[in-house]
């Protein structure tokens, strides 16, 4: 592969001139400039999958919105992050996340430290705009330290990515498809029986909701060390 030279690009976000390097994404440059774009599946230090669709933005001239986390910046583009259409679409998508499984904050260990919950506050979503589906899954509490409650999972796949990309174990993956997609350990075996899991706990740290959590920890004690991954990656000189 012939690597392109990194160049400085100037473009507009919400009418403001910003500059960034050509290998940066719209999301990175926006954050460098203090412009907040909501994200959920994205986590600094891990690869980007662009699957939650929270970070969609409009680029002038293109027909459909694009996720800011995967879109590389280009000279002269005009990005809008907060049009009323984009905000309405984000609300609908967030509604879908809430309706899909069972997100009852009052009984959740991550209450107060949940990115999904925070997003609903940020986007001022009072209640889901779409009917609840409440698809149910079995909880896996077999591991001595951790619990996997798929009912609170939003399929952001951070746990899969951190296990594969950082820990190098690839103990987790997705099984099934569509609405039945689930996070599994090995051959869909109880977590305790997983031969690949190193019990390092990184998956638990990066989970944005209460789907993966530590046992015997109360709501007040829950601390999700989401920033730890970026530190790890920096220490390895990859960033």
């Amino acid at each position: 592969m012939i690597r392109e030279k990194v160049r400085v690009k100037t473009f507009k976000i919400n009418g403001v001139d910003v500059t960034g390097q050509s290998n940066q994404t719209i999301l990175e440059v926006a954050r460098d400039n203090g412009i907040e774009i909501p994200t959920l599946c994205h986590l600094e230090g891990l690869s980007c999958v662009g699957s939650c669709r929270m970070c969609i933005v409009e680029i002038k001239g293109s027909r459909e919105p694009t996720p800011a986390c995967t879109a590389k910046i280009k000279e002269g583009i005009e990005v809008t992050t907060n049009s009323s259409k984009i905000e309405a679409t984000r609300k609908m998508i967030l509604s879908m996340m809430f309706s899909e499984r069972t997100h009852t904050c009052s009984t959740c260990v991550a209450n107060g430290d949940c990115e999904l919950q925070n997003k609903s506050v940020e986007l001022e979503l009072q209640h889901s705009q779409v009917p609840y589906l409440n698809k149910r899954f079995e909880i896996d509490a077999s591991h001595k330290n951790f619990v996997n409650d798929p009912n609170r999972c939003i399929l952001c796949t951070r746990c899969i990515r951190v296990c594969d990309e950082i820990e190098g174990a690839h103990a987790l993956d997705l099984a099934g498809r569509g609405l039945s997609t689930r996070i599994i350990h090995d051959m869909d075996e109880p977590w305790a029986d997983s031969q690949s899991c190193t019990s390092c706990g990184k998956c638990v740290y990066v989970c944005p909701t209460g789907a993966l959590y530590e046992k015997d920890v109360s709501e007040e004690e829950v601390i999700k060390k989401r920033g730890i991954i970026l530190e790890l990656v920096k220490n390895r000189g990859k960033y």
């Binding site: 012939i2 662009g50 699957s51 669709r53 679409t89 609908m92 997705l174 498809r177 569509g178 997609t181």
Partner: protein
């Protein structure tokens, strides 16, 4: 081994000569459709008849691919030199009568199929020119019908740039659905500097109600290989993959055999025709996932992964299979390549409409008399397709709508029947060309149910990666159920439209983005049927 255009032509002449001077042929369709009507047994019965009458030196049974009129299978054509007679609805019980009549130089009158009828007369065959004529299991037969001349001509007489130029002049557009100009795609890959590039043929014909590509792969597999090799030469790729649905075992069998034969003759392999160009082809099997028709999901599947699509850009032309520049063309697109190189791009451009050149193969199904495969010039009207070629609506029913483009397409009502079919006209009518499935719907069908059928299809085929498609297709299916049960409210109708917009704009790949089309197009033309589903508030 064939190492030059002359040798190829010699082989063609030799084969033609032996065929002409030898036996008359009974061509029996061995396409999937006729096979399920028992054409394999029929072939055997005919063979037994010939055997018992010691006629094997005068007649031979030839297994051929699809002749198109699947509704009247099994089709058998009797060829004596240039004369041929087509018989329809032939079963094993007709074997004796058929052999009787041809042995006496007569005709089996009540089984004759009129080839002057519009179904045949109105077609222009380019992609399907060999289908029903040649034996797909014999490379010599393909060569005798002008096969591989285009590849050798390209290698002998043309630079890769000239090949691309010819395809650009032809204005051939991708037949998989998107309609992106093939020549421009090739050009972008040819311009990328990379040691490794790939050509992938998309044979994952996933749209329910579409079977054009299956017919091409089963009836004329070498045409696909030739198109891929020419693409490889033009773009600087030396490796090709054909991704075929596992539901098409016959196509896989024919393609595998074709690859072996072509490799044996040196038409595929190292330094083809003493040139610097090497090209090999491998088959990769799908495993039942509609989303794998989407370019990035298909790549993921070829690489042996779950068929989850990824966000574009980067486009395949820059970052495709294993991160290398890749041309992905569908079967029908590649099947057009050899004729274009042989006859010139200008010849092809002359067929069809201003914006959409050439022909298109359609699969006519549903409530229509002549179900089957037809190839017509772009710009043919829907009325011609349905009432002339298709023979109209059976059982005294009335036409209601025609669905094109599968789960990504839409329904077109009666008032638009004079529409000249091409990429733009269908898009303007709220549908898409898609891969070419045309499903005729009569007035006994409820359009909300049709829309629900497609939404449910997308629901079960959604890969689950992005939220709008994963959750939205389920929500929409449930919402449509309320309309069917006449329990919907006015606000449900608003929510239905709103969610459709969200899926369209925010889904990650084409599956989710186009999933609302059947709903939106039926709302556009048949809104009253939705309003009937709204109960008293």
């Amino acid at each position: 081994m064939i190492t030059s255009l002359n040798e190829l032509k010699e082989l063609a002449d030799k084969k033609k000569c032996t065929d002409d001077n030898s036996r008359q042929e009974l061509r029996v369709c061995m396409g999937s459709s006729c096979m399920s009507l028992g054409s394999a047994e029929l072939g055997k019965s005919l063979q037994d008849e010939l055997q018992s009458r010691e006629l094997n030196d005068r007649y031979k049974i030839k297994s051929v691919g699809c002749s198109g009129l699947c509704a009247n299978g099994t089709l058998v054509s009797h060829c004596n030199g240039n004369e041929s007679t087509l018989y329809e609805k032939i079963t094993t019980s007709d074997a004796k009568d058929l052999v009787d009549s041809i042995q006496n130089g007569g005709l089996l009158k009540d089984k004759m199929c009129d080839i002057a009828q519009p179904f045949f007369a109105k077609q222009t065959k380019i992609v399907l020119e060999n289908a029903g004529m040649i034996d797909p299991d014999e490379i010599e037969d393909y060569i005798a019908h002008g096969g591989y001349i285009a590849l050798f001509k390209a290698l002998d007489e043309m630079t890769p740039k000239e090949v691309i130029e010819e395809v650009k002049i032809s204005a051939l557009r991708g037949r998989g659905g998107g309609g992106y100009p093939a020549g421009i795609k090739w050009e972008s890959v040819s311009k990328v500097i990379s040691e490794q590039k790939y050509i992938i043929c998309n044979g994952d014909e996933g749209d329910p109600g579409a079977f054009m590509d299956r017919a091409v792969m089963e009836s004329d597999p070498h045409r696909v290989l030739e198109g891929m090799a020419i693409a490889g030469y033009a773009c600087g790729a030396n490796k090709g993959y054909i991704y075929v649905r596992a539901e098409y075992p016959l196509a896989v069998e024919k393609l595998s055999r074709a690859i072996k034969q072509a490799t044996k003759l040196g038409i595929l392999g190292e330094n083809i025709a003493h040139s610097n160009f090497s090209f090999s082809i491998e088959i990769r099997l799908g495993a039942g996932a509609f989303v794998c028709g989407e370019a990035t999901a298909l790549i993921a599947s070829v690489e042996g992964n779950r068929g989850n699509p990824r966000q574009k850009p980067p486009h395949l032309t820059d970052y495709g299979l294993w991160g290398k520049p890749t041309v992905l063309n569908n079967v029908e697109t590649l099947a057009n390549i050899a004729p274009i190189i042989k006859n010139g791009g200008a010849w092809y451009k002359n067929i069809g409409t201003q914006n959409s050149s050439g022909t298109k193969v359609f699969a006519l199904t549903g409530h229509i008399k002549n179900t089957g495969l037809v190839e017509v010039p772009m710009g043919t009207t829907l009325r011609e397709l349905i009432y002339e070629i298709g023979g109209g609506i059976p059982d005294g029913k009335r036409f209601k709508a025609i669905q094109s483009g599968g789960p990504s397409g839409g329904c077109i009502p009666e008032e638009l029947l004079d529409l000249h079919v091409d990429y733009e006209s269908l898009k303007n009518a709220g549908s898409i060309m898609g891969s070419g499935g045309l499903i005729v719907i009569d007035d006994s069908s409820n359009m909300v149910e049709i829309a629900r059928f497609f939404m449910d299809f997308c629901r079960s085929e959604s890969c689950g990666k992005c939220t709008p498609c994963r959750v939205g297709t389920t929500e929409l299916t449930l919402l449509l159920d309320k309309f069917i049960k006449k329990e919907a409210t006015k606000s449900d109708f608003e929510l239905l439209k709103e969610m459709c917009e969200v899926l369209k704009s925010a889904s990650l790949c084409g599956l989710g983005q186009t999933a609302p089309n059947p709903v939106l197009s039926t709302i556009k033309y048949f809104e009253s049927e939705y309003l009937e589903g709204i109960g008293d508030d």
